[in-house]
Amino acid sequence: MAETAQTLALPTGTVVRSLAGRDAGYLLCVVGGQGESLLLCDGRERPLERPKRKNAKHIRPVEGVAPFGSEALRGNKALHKGLLRLERQLKAAQSDATEKG
């Protein structure tokens, strides 16, 4: 059975940073959506069963980060831990770059 052509701006699993709204600055993960309207979760404030709908222009994909796979999206706990771990790694990389600079 053919699938309706996907028009999602970013594929499921992509990690993004919110640029606007009360979650601005936080990392979120794309879990679905349609076109420019994306469904985002962080596993805590926005659990997988209640994703946040957000316009693609109000988020920015985190560059150089592989999309989350099925393991990370298997539950809210795993997703939240994955995002926290990634945030720590990004901050560490940033402070390394600042020290070297």
Binding site: M1, A2, E3, A5, Q6
Partner: protein, 251 residues
């Protein structure tokens, strides 16, 4: 999310694929003038159930039957009906799925009710050949675009157009998994294919223009210009040794 299948999972998918392929074969043998599309659906349902599998499409997102049966200008997702009686020369596309021990086999083919006209016959052969032109592109380190490009170049060189609003897809525990497998594309572009992926390649080829519309029943997809359409599909496993067709009947 793309899931890579283990050898055990591939073996289960081969079983599901074989059941789906054999059901399709039986439905194909029954396609002839005077038969209703509901009767074809019953044949598919009985065979799949007889094998201890479940008809994947039944109730999938509310689809009310076990097989999609689309006639002439219907492209895909036709709902079988007691009122739809096949006539001599009808081009009948049958798409069905079997879920066996948690894994899905998804396959489709266009059949002739009686003797097809020359246009329909040529369209049917081209669509089938386009599928077999694309299957060898499903190899590790290939790209999704290689598959679409193979289908597109084969069909467009013969004056046909491809449906763009619907695509092939990943298949496994779910009927529709990532990635999407469009029937158009650019070779060398798109997602990189990996061993362990299982995908459904399914060219939907129109004799006229590529535009399609969905009927008010919410399912049946027809060509906008009323021209004929054909559809073939196989579930494929990408292995280190190349593409393996999982929806193959035994013998």
């Amino acid at each position: 999310m793309i899931s890579l299948k283990t050898a055990r999972e591939l073996s289960l998918m081969r079983d599901a694929g074989r059941i789906a392929a054999e059901a399709l074969l039986r439905v194909g043998e029954a396609v002839k003038p005077g038969v209703t599309t509901a009767e074809l659906n019953r044949i598919a349902h009985d065979y799949i159930s007889h094998c201890g599998a479940a008809p994947t499409f039944l109730n999938y997102n509310g689809f009310p039957a076990c097989a999609c049966i689309s006639v002439n200008d219907e492209v895909i997702h036709g709902i079988p009906s007691k009122k739809r009686v096949l006539r001599e020369g009808d081009l009948v596309s049958v798409d069905l799925g079997a879920t066996y021990r948690g894994y899905v086999g998804d396959t489709a083919a266009s059949f002739a009710a009686g003797k097809l006209g020359e246009t329909a016959q040529r369209l049917r052969e081209t669509t089938r050949a386009a599928l077999f032109a694309a299957i060898p592109k499903a190899v590790p380190d290939g790209r999704v675009g290689d598959i679409g490009a193979a289908v597109q170049s084969y069909c467009e060189a013969r004056g046909y157009s491809l449906v763009r609003d619907f695509t092939g897809h990943g298949v496994g525990k779910e009927l529709h998994e990532d990635p999407s497998i469009p029937n158009v594309g650019t070779a060398g572009h798109g997602l990189r294919l990996r061993a362990g992926m299982t995908i459904a390649i399914e060219p939907m080829v129109n004799a006229g223009k590529s535009g399609v519309r969905v009927l008010p029943d919410g399912w049946t997809v027809k060509t906008k210009d009323g021209t004929l359409s054909a559809h073939f599909e196989h579930t494929i496993a990408i292995t280190p040794n190349g593409a393996v067709i999982l929806t193959k009947a035994e013998g």
